[in-house]
């Protein structure tokens, strides 16, 4: 491979990181939405796009994914604090934020991401055969694995209001309303997922973006709405030169994240959230620091690790939105392309980590100057505009339905994780070979 093409690819990847760092400032925006938007622009300027080496565009997207996976949680951490009424189910990084330690939490997560980047670029090339074998072993069993994940999600729901009812009956009802609503959210999300997979209403030209309005509606818009009405005040943040962690926290956090990240990257339909919860149980991980580090590792392994499987000799697995978008114009073939992509991940990862500290400080300073509610409101308007542009009014309708469902966990204090049934249920049923039959019961086929 020519040195010139390598240099151009590096520049394209760094441009991707730079753009990802800008888009990552918008809480709730997902990198796959940005990639979809990029692809629409690329297809609109098809003549120009066709003259470019597809490797360059691939490396640009790789830079976007790497930059985003390292940086995107920073804005969510700083700009989307939860309301007081949600403290009982607050995530660790939110507690850190309210203690003035948001920077430390973001850097702990960054250290987790760094482990994953080192693993993907430094270790993966030596274990391509093993990953290929693992994939072949998992492949026929995915449907029941996803079934067990669904069961885990349902069984791990717990009542969060601590028996404030006056009578036994009231206390029982309080508990079961939350559990019941978790179950309701799971079932309805699953039905919505089946509908989108079988019979979407998105215009056919952009039907490959069917999941975009659903995901924005289920997750991004409700988060932003809750942030807009939140009454929290973010204290001034302290910029620590070290993190409160012991070497065993790094090791166990990274191990938990690795198990969760690999699990989610090799299993279609699974996202790092439930995978991390399960791996934390499996590795007996404990404490907020290990959870945050594990989260950083799992997230990067899920986004980048899953994408790198697409380029890996012996595997060539198309997993996740980024790989699907890249496969529209590029088919990986040779080992030299895999070496190039691994190098690009390392360069983009180094650039993202280099940015991380300053990026966190910038976000922390922004919280002191701009009300985080305005940021979420702006983000929400931008997301709705993007859904409208990409998927027309039909997508906005679909997003509205998904938003209504996505608000249910906020009203009834259940977790948001059952919403992932939107992916888990249809993928599980399709893998089991009964997806079409079940969809026909609902009149979707």
């Amino acid at each position: 491979m020519d040195i010139f093409i390598i240099l151009i690819c590096c520049l394209a990847a760094l441009a991707g990181v730079a753009i990802a760092s800008v888009f990552s400032l918008i809480p709730g925006l997902h990198i796959y939405n940005v990639i979809a938007f990029t692809m629409m622009i690329a297809f609109a300027a098809l003549d120009l796009f066709k003259t470019m080496d597809p490797l360059i565009t691939t490396c640009f997207i790789m830079g976007l994914v790497v930059g985003f996976s390292v940086l995107f949680t920073v804005s969510s951490q700083f700009f989307q604090p939860c309301d007081d009424s949600y403290r009982s189910m607050m995530l660790p990084h939110e507690r850190f934020l309210f203690e003035g330690r948001g920077y430390e939490a973001a850097m702990l997560s960054g250290i987790g991401s760094m482990f994953a980047l080192l693993m993907i670029s430094g270790l993966f090339p030596f274990v391509t055969g093993a990953i290929g074998t693992l994939r072949q072993l998992i492949r026929p069993h995915i449907y029941w694995i996803l079934g067990l994940v669904s069961l885990f999600i349902l069984m791990s729901e717990w009542p969060k209001d601590h028996g404030v009812g006056k009578t036994t009956g009231q206390r029982l009802a309080d508990a079961w309303v939350q559990l019941g609503m978790g179950l309701f959210v799971f079932v309805v999300s699953g039905i919505l997922g089946l509908f989108v997979f079988c019979n979407t209403i998105i215009p056919v030209d952009n039907a490959f973006q069917s999941l975009m309005p659903v995901f924005i509606g289920l997750f991004a818009i409700p988060s932003q709405l809750m942030t807009v009405i939140a009454h929290a005040r973010i204290p001034k943040q302290y910029f620590a030169g070290s993190v409160d962690a012991a070497p065993q926290d790094l090791a166990r956090g990274a191990l938990t994240g690795t198990v969760g990240g690999m699990f989610s990257s090799l299993t279609p339909g699974l996202t790092p959230g439930p995978a991390l919860l399960m791996s934390a149980h499996a590795t007996a991980s404990s404490g907020e620091k290990q959870f945050i580090i594990g989260g950083g590792t799992a997230r990067v392994l899920y986004y980048i690790g899953a994408l790198v499987l697409f380029f890996m000799p012996d595997v060539y697995m198309r997993r996740g939105g980024a790989a699907i978008n890249i496969s529209l114009f590029f088919v990986p073939e040779t080992a030299e392309q895999y070496f190039l992509i691994s190098g690009i991940i390392a360069v983009a990862g180094a650039a993202s980590l280099l940015l991380l500290g300053r990026y966190c400080k910038f976000c922390a300073n922004v919280t002191q100057k701009i009300d985080f509610r305005w940021i979420s409101l702006g983000g929400m308007i931008l997301l709705i505009a993007m859904v409208w542009y990409v998927t027309s009014w039909r997508g906005v309708v679909l997003m509205g339905v998904a938003t209504a469902l996505g608000m249910v966990p906020n009203f009834w204090h259940t977790r948001r994780i059952p919403l992932l049934a939107v992916l888990l249920v249809p993928v599980c049923l399709n893998m089991a070979g009964v997806g079409a039959k079940v969809a026909s019961w609902f009149g979707f086929r």
């Binding site: 030209d205 030169g241 409160d244």
Partner: protein, 295 residues
């Protein structure tokens, strides 16, 4: 053994603690057992070193080319990478929806038309269309690198290419350029004469026309759904029966237009109805009929 110095201000939240507090009284963080953020800088250096190693490997990578004579039936379905010179290119237009490009590739050392040092590289569907839309891409005599799947058995042997990306020109040859438009057969017409029929005739005995290229006329457009890639037609002046026309990429006719449609009459099993499927390259597939127009 020296005791570690305990900072008064918490290194995590910056608030001042009583002397000798190993745990912050405000945020609960340890003031002594900590990891410096210099670990991130170390990670960045390691990543850059790994990147340099990968780029070196990419630059020094030598493909493992398979010799053309070694592509025997016992390697059937194998993914192989072959290097050779373009001896000839044939463009075969077999039917309404089939183009095939055959690149005759000769391994180093030559050997002539019937030697085992020669193999056909075949492109069908999208790769063939991409090839045809790039006139001048290949010259006879070009040295090319091809990554493709081998199909080999008794008395046949060829490579099947899944994308044009897998042809890389290593050295331009001095032979005559290949002009796809000069190949035999008309590009925008079906290979065989298409039977003419009305919608009523097609649906009265659909099996008779199944999978055939037909010309249906005169038809009337009854519905053009927004943002969907099909429209509905019926026989002129009769609202029923209707047929779906799918796959036309040109400017869509308006409701009420009288048109003629050329396409393949197929049964759409998923939804259970018959339709006329038009190929996107067939520019004359849909003709709006004005008075006296004939296709």
């Amino acid at each position: 053994m020296a005791t570690p110095e305990i900072p008064r201000c918490c290194p995590s939240c910056g608030k001042e603690n009583p002397p000798d507090s190993t745990v912050c009284h405000f945020c609960g963080a340890s003031t002594v057992e900590r990891i410096s953020l210099k670990i991130v800088s170390l990670g960045i250096v390691l990543l850059l070193a790994i990147a340099a190693a990968h780029f070196y490997l990419a630059m020094s990578y030598a493909p493992d080319y398979a010799a053309i004579p070694s592509l025997t039936p016992d390697r059937n379905f194998e993914r192989v990478r072959v290097k050779g010179r373009v001896a000839d290119v044939q463009i075969v237009r077999e039917a309404y929806d089939h183009h095939q490009v055959r690149i005759e590739l000769e391994g180093e050392g030559g050997g002539g038309r019937y030697s085992d040092n020669r193999i056909s590289v075949r492109l069908e569907g999208e790769p063939a269309n991409d090839f045809l839309s790039n006139p001048g891409f290949l010259n006879r005599g070009d040295l090319i690198d091809v990554a493709a799947s081998l199909y080999a058995g008794d008395n046949y042997r060829h490579l099947s290419l899944s994308s044009m990306q897998f042809i890389r020109i290593l050295e331009k040859g001095s032979g005559a350029p290949i002009d796809p438009s000069a190949a035999s057969g008309s590009r925008y017409a079906p290979a065989a004469p298409a039977p003419k029929a009305t919608v009523a005739e097609l649906l009265a005995d659909p099996e008779k026309f199944r999978d055939q290229v037909v010309i249906a006329r005169p038809l009337e457009v009854v519905e053009v759904p927004e943002a969907l890639p099909f429209f509905r037609v019926s026989d002129e002046g009769k609202p029923e029966p209707q047929l779906v026309v799918i796959g036309y990429k040109g400017e869509l006719p308006a409701v009420g237009d009288q048109i003629s449609v050329r396409g393949k009459f197929i049964y759409y099993e998923k939804k259970g109805y018959w339709e006329i499927q038009v190929r996107d390259w067939d520019k004359g597939a849909v003709i709006v009929l004005t008075d006296g127009t004939s296709e």
